[in-house]
Amino acid sequence: MKRWANTGTGPNPAAGERQQGRRGAAIRRNLPTAGLLLLLVACWELACRIFEIPPQQLPAPSAIGRAFFENFTILAVQARASLAAAGAGLLMALLLAVLLAVAMDRSPLIKRFLYPLLVISQTVPIYALAPLFLIWFGLGLFSKVVIVSLVCFFPLAVNLVEGLEQVDPEALELLRTMQAGPWLVFRSLQLPSVLPYFFSGLKIAVTYSVIGAVIGEWIGARAGLGVFMLRSLHAFKTAQVFAAIIAVVLLSLLLFKLTELLAWLAMPWNRAGRNNIEEE
């Protein structure tokens, strides 16, 4: 069958080049945002100086920066506590969401009963319930984990359910004619089709998780960025409050980027170069 010998190159002939191009494009794309941010910060700084705003009310960016670096070690320690709550809550949410989504996928009956409940559960203001969790689960890590998992559960579950719904029925039929077992069907078809949905849910969930942890800590905790914020607030150290906010933002961004990296690693087929090979 020599006639069909193809003249293709390797899978990624210009991958390095393209990668570099993409990185350059990313920098160029983010340049306006960075510029705008810088301008805003500059205006803020100037306003604080010109109008002599009291630092307890609104500290200048320079003061916030100083507070951030002066408190860096303590912020890092508190961030670790918040991260622990966020991470544990995420894991719990993930476990619940996967179990529920698989159950709903297996049984239309379960889905009919549970899906509306799932949506209703989201209309309950979880943060308003937080004080109750404190009563039930105490000041320790666990009450925070519960809050975070409740907040993160919804985007994960909804995306997983939706992902499982759109698994190609024709592909399922094809596997049936091969008499593939349920495990092969799961790992060769269902899991990979769900991954993109899963990761878009996870991106939302990870950003919620840090905020969830911090709010949980406001209500009552022994450590964490939320606790640090409250203490600083009560001591009228407003710059420290802002420093903690910066830490929260950085933490969320970090988790978000980590999720993107994870998605990139988990779906290698998405980055395979699309160099259609011509016949002959």
């Binding site: 069909w4 899978p11 039929e173 004619t177 060769s188 990979p192 087929w269 395979a272 090979i277």
Partner: protein, 251 residues
Amino acid sequence: MKPKLLLENISATYTAGAEPLPVIDALSLHVAPGEFVSLLGPSGSGKSTLLKIAAGLIRPERGRVFLDGREVTGRPARVGYMPQQDLLFPWKTLLQNAALPLLAAGVPREAAYSRVMEMLPVFGLERFAHYYPNQLSGGMRQRAALLRTILVESGLLLLDEPFAALDALTRDKMRDWLLAIWEQFKRSVLFVTHSIDEAIYLSDRVCMISARPGRIILDQPITLPRPRTRQITNEPLFLEYKQKLFASLEE
């Protein structure tokens, strides 16, 4: 000799819509061992539905399906079924896609992969084992899908318009190539197509199916000698078949 596949008095109706849609009406069809049968008919006449019934994916309203003389109506039997879209999984490389039926049959991964690697040259795909489907051309994807279909260890291939999406040139090449593969592997084939030329060129027998609800309106044996080459399309016998099939399609 027992037919490889026997469809007996099949009727099928889709009930999903506002009113029931009868798609196939008391249709009978058989494929002898090693025989190449084409199913020809207008769009919407129930050809894909019939293949799904043969594959056991849909239970017919009436009628029975026999595979090697055993009744398998409504039960997915192990058959080489190739749906209208190639359905290569985008997250799997060519090698992994083609190995799926072997894995489904319980072959260990290493053995399955080396079996696929042995087969790749036959399909002209030896250099593309580790490519993802979106890196392959249309013709290569069809060949990969066909390789996957042939690796289902079954004596029966059910092919649903495998070449419909290809350009005319690639299509011609794929026909010759399918014939070569068929002669090498000696499977029974039920081949759905829209093209009269394609049906005559490939088949031992061409079955013409009517517009919905589908019935067989012509069962035409094709006695052109094998192996066939493209010259055959100019022979008087070929043209005669063509006219006959055209005429029955007009009715």
